[in-house]
């Protein structure tokens, strides 16, 4: 049986948004990548079964397989036939302390944005736009 570590169950809340415009398997890739980057998944952790994910998010098992394979090619996952799919490599991310600090600061900003009347899309728009400006300024400063 070897049930999943309960930790994963909470963190890996797979979800498919049909309105995002992003193709389903790439949505899964992105969610797993984010979990790896934020330290929610550690090397050796086992991911949910292909069939389980497919049933949960209501897509075809082949689509889930495609997402897993995509990450396996990048060396982030390893799939062992008959056993499951496991994390093979973690992504560089902030330390737990820094992450908590950044998250708190971001939550304060979100409250401020909400008070200004922004909805989720507005926040996303402003963030995307500002990040773009930030990156561009960095490049010019070099």
């Amino acid at each position: 049986m070897t049930p999943l570590q309960p930790r994963n169950a909470n963190v890996l809340a797979f979800h498919i948004e049909n309105t995002s415009g992003l193709t389903p398997y790439l949505q899964l890739v992105q969610q797993i990548t984010h979990a790896l980057r934020l330290g929610h998944l550690k090397v050796g952790d086992r991911l949910p079964t292909v069939r389980d994910v497919a049933a949960k998010v209501a897509i075809n098992p082949n689509t889930v397989l495609k997402a897993y394979r995509h990450l396996e090619v990048q060396g982030l996952l390893v799939s062992r036939p008959g056993r499951g799919v496991f994390v093979a490599k973690e992504l560089a991310g902030p330390s737990a302390h820094d992450q908590a600090s950044l998250r708190r600061a971001l939550l304060r900003w979100l409250s401020q944005a909400e008070d200004a009347g922004l909805d989720a899309e507005g926040m996303q728009a402003l963030f995307a736009n500002t990040v773009r400006q930030f990156i561009q300024d960095q490049a010019e400063a070099s």
Copy 2:
């Protein structure tokens, strides 16, 4: 000739990213929508020519047309054959003052994130994750 207002030239810097996973015409839709939401485009402003955009970002004119039509259906744009495509409606966004304030706060946060070693993807991951948490908390608090 009625050249474009120089304002648009700087703000509407169309760009197609092949790595984003988002389909090209939706990338244009998103960029225009963001510009509308942030007040970079005003009612009556003229958008770049279908053929101009197609040439600039190296995609087919039909793809640009699809993006424009997508926004026209939503009542955000109006296309006048022989004249061009114009902004028909603006989207609710923060006031100029609030926007400037939010942008400054966000820039500070980005500097902090950069100091913590995050790259653009890491920032994006943390933002997406935190927004999701924020929205969820809002829903539960109702």
